[in-house]
Symmetry: C2
Subunit: 228 residues, 2 copies
Amino acid sequence: MQGTPSQQRPAATAYPPTERTVPTRSPDRAAYDKELVHAILDEGYVCHLGFVRDGAPVVLPTLYGRVGERLYVHGSTGSRPLRAAGQAEPGLPVCLTVTHVDGLVLARSAFHHSINYRSVVVHGPAYDVTDPEEKRQALDALVDHVVPGRAADSRPADKKELAATAVIRLDLNEVSAKLRTGGVNDEPEDLALPHWAGVVPLRRGYDTPLADPGLAPGTELPDYLAAL
Amino acid sequence: MQGTPSQQRPAATAYPPTERTVPTRSPDRAAYDKELVHAILDEGYVCHLGFVRDGAPVVLPTLYGRVGERLYVHGSTGSRPLRAAGQAEPGLPVCLTVTHVDGLVLARSAFHHSINYRSVVVHGPAYDVTDPEEKRQALDALVDHVVPGRAADSRPADKKELAATAVIRLDLNEVSAKLRTGGVNDEPEDLALPHWAGVVPLRRGYDTPLADPGLAPGTELPDYLAAL
């Protein structure tokens, strides 16, 4: 089937909006551009994973990694959502959300206080990853998502560790980003009020790495960590 | 009934664990102490709120505030979860999760990589707040949760704004904290490996506030913002 017209088309650059990825409020803040979604996802490493258990929602913080159009989440094979994903057919319905807070928006009126943020919400079925090669690649992606370059500078998981680790996959199909940027939006009649208004940007970063006291002699802080 | 033995007892200092607040994995990381839970909640202002819509989980980032043993979340009266809470009887089942990442734990082995974090997970029904006084107090708490002292230094919501704002309440009954602190836990046989290992602490803070260009003449940066 190579060379058919549909295959010659460039890959879509945006995720198609669906009923649940179009917000009922502030639709102007929603975005579906793949590059933007990837950038937001790649800037973080902790997501909030939602699933339904006994009819009630559960939201847990967990690490994630991205390989192309797939997200991976890992955990112990004993963890409840990962066990459920392994058993569910066809996959466990999840919602994976990543949020970066960029600034506090302080308006003159309490009502117009807001937050500058960028978030991505992914809906879809999560599948247990059983292929050993995909699992290994996913675990590398998870480590490199936290610290780029780290997977190659650590001992890879051995067979026993791989067996103890469950990995679930969530494809990027039903995806939206939501953003708020910019300054204060006060009502015109409030502009003369004596309250300070503006944006307080958040600072993100790392403090000096604290070496484990038992490092092998001569082990230096690697460049990829010094660069953080 | 005043003075009965049960009323003379001091208020419980911990949330009673329930089937869903006792983790299947790493139960040693779970905590139920109220002071600890309050401290984690009060350090943040963005939560991830999970609810079930058409049988599937939805997780959205949103602001929250705390007043004693009650959490408040607000939004437009047009937003889906808030509308659902208003209609649900007896309340909308939600899961509200707050997470602080404190450090990256880089082990010699990929398997023992981890994150130092503190999180709180609250389960329960969310109720629409209809009492005007409770609503006003909740909105003040929401603003003050982001910047302590700010609610008193902004124009309070007027009737129209109050009517356009939905507030939902979630009581702190079924609550757990989960924490990971400390250093690297490598396998003894990995200690001699030449990989750097240790903890990279996260730094949180704010950059210089950016004043709105239209501030009323003579409006200075307030002390509570300079202190951030």
